[in-house]
């Protein structure tokens, strides 16, 4: 069977599975729609959280980015896993004990203020929308490459599928669908990584092969270690050393921090820990989520290193002078057709050649690394089909999770708690579904007309989460003195500070976006950590000079600090 038929079969089968699960676990009430009836076991919840977390961007792009920037890529690896430690230790158990549905619920109650709730709702909706903008594009790209349809058609198909199960199923449907999606995506990611690790180093476990000695085609050791070879190649071709990177230390520090604290402030991640039966389960759920995420995130850098060596060697050949275009492998020609690889024979020698600097003849898009790996390594056709299904699983699960938070924020936080408090359960559910539908249409719009700055927008989402929601939640749990005025002032200044810094360098004056103009050498990607510190300082300062926190709120803070008496997640 050819790749085309296999892709239809595997993708078709996985879609049938997701839709089947969505129908089987249809939500009947608002509570089931929002939090799956509080009845999801921790391991399952961890798996679903992992699928929710790992978007098309991590599945398709992350290994490619790390492959091109080496050590600098560590900011994403540590940043997007380290946040779970904060979630497990400082947030999940307490928010579960608090026992309501959403982040704005907590901020509104803890800071006894409608204004604080509204600020939180606005942050949550904005963060989710910036996030989802990139997701539908991911679906479209995968469809267009493997099903040979237009990107736009791919986006429409993706919209229809997400709409079907997110809108009908609600949280319960999504949770179980995401469990299935996790299994598909992790299998699809690991199979090519294991294949390529065995081929290059003889180790089945890519994390070990990453540091191992390279082997030749016959399986005999060559005496050269993968990473030494990679550093050697980078030196020879004029790139920064793979294991050292080129970003300044302070920038690496701040970006890592902004991503970690941003992760712990993302509403669609936090809401996950409301869906487990007990406080105990909230703690361990975060642990399971990180286990399932780490399986992929520790494989990513290994895959990056393998494909970097493979790519340079196939393009430049054994002599490192380039290979003749006619004898170049098929994957180069296949991807040339998509425009994601371009060859410009600058010295007219008929050979392709990849290097840093002016003699470089190859333009290679980072995003193709994962999708192209099975082809570069000459793996069987079913593996290529599997990777397509994995990319789709990643994109769909993340979109569905985000849509749910958008719909909850609109129907529950904005309408029920703000604009129309007397709304009935049934009406609320209807508005939730309408909001999901609106979210899908918007995401689809951005999928078809991509803004061209998806990466920048995602950085904004993390920076804003780190500098607005994260400090408000942490102070709400660990301090009894931070009051309404302090929290609102902190959120607003943190948010405005980070947002204006990012907007200035990314949109207003992009030509000034370089280290000498940055505050302390911190890039816009990392400014969220600084914004977070600003938020904490402002909140404590303002709280000192304004009215103390009322006694009933102090009692509430005391009661969320221990697990006993948690009960089910409830509305009121």
């Amino acid at each position: 069977m050819d790749v085309q038929t296999l892709t239809y079969l595997i993708v078709g089968f996985t879609f049938a599975l997701y839709i089947g699960i969505a129908i089987w676990s249809r939500a009947g009430s608002t509570k089931e729609f929002y939090v799956a009836g509080g009845g999801v076991p921790p391991v399952m919840n961890g798996m679903a959280t992992a699928a929710d977390w790992m978007s098309a961007a991590s599945f398709i792009s992350l290994a490619g980015i790390v492959s091109f920037v080496g050590y600098d890529g560590s900011v994403y690896l540590m940043g997007w896993t380290g946040g779970y430690v904060l979630l497990a230790l400082c947030m999940a158990p307490y928010l579960r004990k608090f026992g309501k549905f959403t982040v704005p619920d907590f901020i509104g109650d803890r800071y006894y203020s409608q204004a604080a709730r509204t600020v939180a709702v606005v942050c949550a909706i904005f963060i989710c929308f910036t996030y989802i903008a990139g997701q539908m594009r991911g679906v479209g790209v995968v469809f267009s490459r493997f099903l040979e349809v237009e990107v736009d058609t791919g986006v429409y198909i993706g919209m229809a599928v997400v709409f079907f199960y997110a809108v009908l199923g609600g949280m319960k449907g999504i949770t179980y669908t995401q469990v299935a999606q996790y299994c598909v995506l992790i299998f699809a990611f690991m199979v090519p990584a294991i294949f390529i690790s065995v081929m290059m180093t003889g180790h089945i476990i890519p994390q070990i092969g990453f540091g191992a000695e390279l082997v030749d085609a016959a399986g005999n050791g060559t005496g050269e270690y993968l990473l030494d070879k990679l550093d050697g190649l980078s030196n020879e071709l004029g790139f920064a050393q793979y294991t050292e990177g080129s970003k300044s230390m302070i920038d690496v520090f701040f970006i890592t921090g902004a991503l970690m604290f941003g992760t712990a402030g993302l509403p669609h991640v936090i809401v996950r820990f409301f869906t487990v039966p007990k406080v105990k389960d909230a703690r361990v759920s975060a642990g399971w989520a990180l286990v399932f995420i780490a399986i992929m995130y520790t494989t990513v850098p290994a895959l990056s290193a393998f494909s970097r060596v493979n790519m340079i060697e196939t393009i430049n050949g054994p002599e490192s002078t380039g290979v003749a275009y006619e004898t170049a492998p098929d994957w180069i020609k296949n991807w040339e057709k998509t425009g994601l690889i371009t060859w410009d024979d600058k010295n007219d020698d008929g050979k392709i050649f990849y290097t840093a600097g002016a003699e470089n003849e190859m333009k290679i898009d980072r995003d193709i690394m994962v999708l192209a790996t099975p082809e570069i390594a000459d793996l069987p056709a079913w593996v290529i089909a599997l990777v397509a299904a994995g990319g789709l699983a990643a994109a769909l699960s993340t979109s569905a999770g985000l849509l749910l938070v958008i719909s909850t924020s609109v129907s529950h936080d904005l309408l029920k708690k703000n604009l129309m408090p007397n709304i009935s359960d049934k009406k609320e559910l209807m508005y939730a579904r309408l909001a999901s539908a609106a979210g899908i249409v918007m995401a689809g719009y951005f999928g078809i007309n991509p803004p061209g700055f998806v990466a920048a927008v995602v950085a904004i989402a993390f920076g804003l989460a780190a500098s607005s929601l994260f400090p408000a939640i942490i102070m709400g749990i660990f301090s009894k003195t931070v009051n309404k005025e302090g929290a609102i002032a902190g959120m607003v200044t943190g948010l405005l500070f980070s947002a204006s810094y990012i907007v200035y360098f990314k949109f207003v004056n992009p030509s000034a976006n370089s280290a000498e103009n940055w505050l302390f050498g911190i890039s816009p990607e990392g400014i969220g950590l600084f914004g977070m510190m600003v938020n904490f300082c402002v909140a404590f300062a303002v709280s000192r000079v304004t009215k103390a926190v009322p006694q009933d709120v102090v009692d509430m803070v005391e009661s969320i600090r221990f697990p006993k008496g948690s009960g089910e997640a409830h509305d009121h």
């Binding site: 380290g82 779970y84 904060l86 158990p93 540091g211 294991t243 520090f253 890592t256 105990k280």
Partner: protein, 88 residues
Amino acid sequence: MSFESNEKAEGYWRENLRLVLGLLVIWAAVSFGCGILLVDVLNEIHFMGFKLGFWFAQQGSMYVFVALIFVYVAKANALDKKYGVHED
């Protein structure tokens, strides 16, 4: 109030904070410390074919993160039992 006395409530919270802070120190040490601030020093050391600082940044810190959460879960559950504030 689910604690027998105010002292117990404060004791529980103090122990809980000590546990969380201790684990967060390790969390910061492996990522911000070994993976970023000390990376050049540690890169002089070789470990299973890796430069050690690079290994912490791209592998080691993530393994430690996972371990930290499970240590926290075990210790926090034990603490709840000790003070009788666990769920039924």
